[in-house]
Symmetry: C2
């Protein structure tokens, strides 16, 4: 079975508590209109039943638009709501278990906080690495030392797996993250906390497109 | 596929925070020596990776002894660690989703807090009902009004599904819970918080056996 080759370029990670312009569904719908290419549902507070229902609502919104939906950590929620994959951190379910349960066609990304973890993610067959955090960020407080642009460049030189950078990325620094070798930028507050999620997504997508055109010219 | 017909009679629900006599694995091992017939791993604090590892450790302990392992709420953890089933509450994954993901052979129990929920549990094909709570209990604070022995008798008259009573059950009231129609008693603190989990389980098992002998005589 061939896995889909997703477009990681503008990757929205949800945070209901940051949404200022409407419900999470509203924010995701507008972000997709603006050009988000992938959505990860991250939810640490909801009970399983509500988590699955929210996943189903996002799936119904995203599937007709061809935008893949991943679920953070929870394979049960991903399977129940028909998500395209999961994103797992180093304290979440192990990659081998996630792959076995999700199937060969699922997209599975792994957060990496060290070169050793990056090597393991590539070795085990993950679809992409979440380079976490690339910059210091107030959204997650349980993270390790930032990779920085130099760390991202080092990963790019060493590994062929798609790199999705996360942590402290917004319109002002997105271009340099792409230039350092990221295939995608994952954002939380840059879209969720924006008063205009569609415009925020469109701005990031324009940066991503500009970076691709630059790469095509080289 | 035929589902196993488990012995629900002495059903241990885990709580790591209450274990006074050793680790959770120690407590479960000694409880099984004492006569526990089923174990439900309930865990709200651990990250998924540790939850799966704990499930695997219990599975390795229980499977050779023929004692089924269920996981509370988390189908992903149950599938990853090879548990025999799941127990779901009214805010957990829906029964239909749990059955689809766990397969026809899994044991799936549903907590019921009203006659309507009990009717739904029987209608949808659950393996047993968790009658919750039968008595008021300090272990769970988010529960609804207790069923009491009269409520349990009412469920017994009305439904044929196995009834597992939970909440405030210990050696002093276990016999009357069986007499009111329970197929099993689920306990948390009566075993986990006991200084001698083996003896605590043996006492409850003796009550369960006495009740069965009495039923066979009738």
């Amino acid at each position: 079975m061939t896995r889909m080759q997703p477009d990681y370029s503008v990757y929205l990670v949800t945070d209901r508590t940051l949404c200022v312009s409407g419900t999470l569904e509203d924010v995701v719908a507008r972000a997709v209109q603006g050009g988000v290419t992938m959505v990860q549902l991250r939810e640490k507070q909801l009970c399983t039943r509500e988590f699955v229902e929210l996943g189903r609502a996002l799936r119904a919104l995203l599937a007709p638009r061809g935008v893949p939906l991943l679920v953070n950590d929870r394979v049960d929620v991903a399977l129940a709501c028909g998500a395209d994959g999961v994103h797992i951190g180093q304290s979440d379910i192990r990659y081998a278990d996630a792959r076995r349960l999700m199937g060969a066609g699922a997209v599975i990304g792994v957060s990496v906080e060290s070169v050793e973890q990056a090597a393991e993610a590539e070795r085990c067959g993950a679809d992409y690495m979440g380079v976490s955090p690339v910059f210091a960020t107030p959204t997650k407080t349980d993270t390790s030392a930032p990779w920085g642009l130099e760390g991202l460049r080092g990963l790019r030189r060493r590994f062929s797996l798609p790199l999705v950078a996360i942590g402290g990325i917004g319109p002002d620094n997105a271009a340099e993250v792409f230039e350092a070798g990221a295939d995608g930028i994952a954002v939380v507050s840059a879209i969720c906390a924006s008063p205009d999620p569609q415009q925020a997504a469109a701005t990031l997508r324009a940066v991503a497109r500009g970076k691709r055109r630059a790469a095509a010219v080289l």
